[in-house]
Amino acid sequence: MAATIEKVSIIISKGSLEGIYPGLIMANGARAEGIEANLFFTFFGLDAIHKARHEHIKLATVGNPGLHLATWAGGLPGVASVMTHYMNHKMDKLEIPSIPEFIEMIADTGAGLYGCKASADLFGLIEDDLIDQVKDIITVGEFYDLAAGGEIIFT
């Protein structure tokens, strides 16, 4: 019998479009394979589960060499919005859900969503600021308890 993965705990630490999607795709893909999955949102990654902000996640157009756009051009007013709109449009065509829809779907698959206590304290956030699907705001120690016996993936 080939080796199998039974459980993953995925940390999302960035608040940009390209920083959030990979972790979501990995969590959703894990559940589709019958793998238990938990998502832990820390630092700017908290924006992905923030009620007021999760619909406005932007692509990083400055300091992102993969975009092949001059840094000064990426900083011009409106460029981040236009590039984000373009990327969202491309993903929509490929049937990739928006971040709010994707997170709701992942919660429906039975994956656990958690916020990081240190980050929530830092940004002055409480559970009411986060979307309803979030189960709890937990400490790093509680995260390790949840992650015990599985793989931890940091994004």
Binding site: G29, R31, A32, G34, I96, P97, D108
Partner: protein, 104 residues
């Protein structure tokens, strides 16, 4: 290629147990494949299985969980209750079609 026997008929399957020739599949084989996956089939399971077959016949590939949730009439939540080890993957196996390959 390994073979399995369902409802008295030999069929060819791949290493993971998916049918290599969906034409060999018959409805009366489904309960036995399902029980190997620890599932006892209900009407709700059948709704998903028939939808999988239908999609495969039209498109040549099975739907992903997201597509199932949007179009099969069974919600994502219920899909995971019916098929805890992965709805698209498990339902494809029971429906005798190849494993869906989408990332989302």
């Amino acid at each position: 290629m390994p073979t399995s026997t369902y409802a008295g008929t030999d069929v060819t399957v791949n290493d993971e147990g998916f049918f290599t020739d969906p034409a060999q599949w018959r409805e009366d084989m489904a309960p036995q494949i399902a029980s190997q996956e620890g599932i006892e089939l209900t009407d709700r399971h059948w709704q998903v299985i028939k939808f999988m077959r239908h999609e495969y016949e039209i498109k040549g590939t099975g739907p992903t969980v997201r597509v199932l949730g949007k179009t099969s009439g069974v919600s994502i939540k219920e899909l995971y209750q019916l098929f805890p080890k992965g709805p698209a993957k498990t339902a494809a196996k029971i429906a005798g079609i190849p494993k869906p390959r989408g990332c989302i």
